[in-house]
Symmetry: C2
Subunit: 368 residues, 2 copies
């Protein structure tokens, strides 16, 4: 009965596994490539939400971290990772009060795309006696947050420069929608369009005589193109550290092989074998992302996964006869790392088949 | 600026709200209707994962709780809710050891559908000097766990009766796939088919001379039909307590209005207003279920919600001009309660516009 519990006989399932050497490989590879391209690397902590990983990224040479939410930034700062860019606008009195409070104990910058929001940030910063760094967000094609390309970024930058509680730190242009476009040529074309949109804002800023200290953006999928174009000064990849099935399908460049490993997996157990060709496992919508691509079986292309509810998944063998029975374990490659990580309280970190450490996912659920 | 923070000016977003009176209405209504039908009510804790709600259900008259996972059952038992049915087979040495340990301090029963699994459960129970209650699961149409209808349930029940560490407690026949079928006639027909499948197993058990103490199954959607058919002796609804947009669309019976209120909502904030007709809010895939139906705006049918990434959602106004700006708040009705609740650490419980309590979602993420 023991052998059925391999690998990791002391770890119950579902568990989120992270292979230590593959993780380090990804951290070091991205850092080296950013350095070669002359880009500052500010990895996105939204992908891992984990202090231990943030510290490895910092120790490798990252200039700081990005956070999508203030709640994540508070956790990172409390853990000593205190050079932070909040990549979503922070709006409303409660959040602005928290942001100003955080600015007392960390170097925190925030994106903004709205004049009224800037006035509120300025008033709160002045009242607290701090200076808030502001990065103007430009919508470079995602249709989400951000001002349109062109003059509006310069207009907001001027407001920031006039505000006594704010400092103008630069612009952000991020296009999330293109990051997982698998075909390199299609992705390259979309990155080019996003950078052209960004350039229209940079031209307006130059025309207004406003210096732009930082031009930040980019993700794991756009990285090889961002590194070649060098329009950005700082890049924000997040998923590169854990990777997932969606990114594994991405053609890194026109020719070169994907240089990133896949440290993240879900350890699952079989709970039932209702038919000869199928087993039910203990991973459903509560233990793997249900947005985007579903998980895949690691090293078992003969098995196909389907969700079977909140707590259940089904694996079907192409052969018609499945070689698994209740209690057996299997590893899945998550389809989307960010939303999978956000379901778990800890990473089980392993190396050479042995558990090395348990790392809390300290900012899990800190979406506020 | 204060008025923009209503309702609940001290609660930051995203937050999971629960209206206290509507919650109690649902608990009392389901309990009264189960009592009228002569059915024992064993609500499913997988929907709420919260000790405070489980205690309200017990105090109203529930015979105990269902848990989908052993991790949930451990949390409920530690909180004094110690009459539990684990509705998914428990397989593998680690989990069986935990189950036997839990059986020392709680009345815990478990479903099973596999002879080898029964032998393992029996050996572990005997070694620990406990008796484990076993409920044989029958696949009544979902194609997930469970033995096929007919003789197999009697064969497994016989194994349970022969096992010195196990007691035979009955059968489970649950069809999750039909619970949210909106059309009553279609749902009624599917419940009828499931109950016919269950009856084939019950006939085999009668023929074998095996008494069946409990016949458990059903959910919120099947409840009105289960109450009329009375084939089950115990029902397991879960979602009725919080409700969601998918269940709100369900036609309760052929004629009667839905007797359940909708206590659950997500409080969201606007973070950006990129165009006249659209705002971006702080709820994405990490703060609302991404399986099944997406969230809807509460009391605002003129606004449509679309996911815009892990941390973002978009609201578009049908009028072409949206009346919201950064910092404003809005309530969403989640599409699927179970998977939304599993993203949050706490319920913000409110009554008459005031926050009454914060209830931890103690079994959040306890999918192991």
């Amino acid at each position: 009965m023991e052998s059925a519990l391999l690998p990791f006989p002391d770890i119950d399932t579902p568990a989120l596994l992270l292979e230590r050497e593959a993780l380090q490989h990804n951290i070091d590879t991205m850092q080296a490539r950013a350095r070669e391209a002359g880009l500052a690397l500010r990895p996105h902590a939204k992908a891992h939400k984990c202090l231990e990983i943030g510290r490895l990224q910092r120790d490798a040479g990252a200039v700081g971290l990005c956070c999508a939410k203030l709640g994540e930034a508070e956790v990172m700062a409390a853990g000593g990772l205190d050079d932070l860019l909040v990549t979503t606008p922070v709006a409303g009195a409660l959040k602005i009060a928290r942001l100003v409070d955080l600015a007392r104990r960390a170097r925190v910058r925030v994106v903004a795309d709205d004049a009224a929001n800037l006035a509120e940030l300025d008033a709160a910063a002045q009242a607290a006696g701090v200076t808030l760094g502001v990065v103007i967000e430009i919508d470079v094609g995602q249709g989400r947050c951000g001002v349109p390309p062109g003059p509006p970024a310069a207009e907001l930058a001027r407001l920031v420069l006039q505000a006594r509680g704010l400092s103008f730190e630069g612009v952000q242009g991020y296009q999330g929608g293109l990051q997982c476009v698998a075909d390199y040529a299609a992705r390259e074309s979309q990155v080019g369009q996003a950078m052209e949109a960004l350039e229209r804002s940079l031209a307006a800023l130059r025309e207004a005589g406003i210096a732009v200290p930082t031009i930040t953006g980019g993700g794991t999928g756009s990285f090889p193109i961002d590194a070649r174009l060098r329009r950005l000064t700082e890049v924000q990849p997040g998923s590169y550290v854990t990777m997932d099935a969606a990114y594994a399908a991405v053609q890194w460049t026109g020719g070169a092989a994907m240089p990133l490993a896949r440290p993240l997996s879900i350890l699952a157990s079989v709970v039932s074998r209702p038919t000869r060709d199928k087993v039910i496992i203990d991973v459903g919508w509560k233990s793997a992302n249900s947005d985007g691509m579903p998980p895949r079986c690691k090293n078992r292309p003969d098995l196909s996964f389907e969700f079977a509810g909140d707590e259940h998944g089904a694996l079907v063998a192409a052969s018609g006869e499945i070689d698994l029975r209740p209690g057996d374990r299997i590893e899945l490659l998550p389809g989307h790392c960010d939303t999978t990580v956000n379901l778990y309280d800890r990473f089980v970190v392993h190396a050479r088949g042995q558990v090395q450490a348990i790392w809390p996912i300290a900012a899990r659920g800190k979406s506020h």
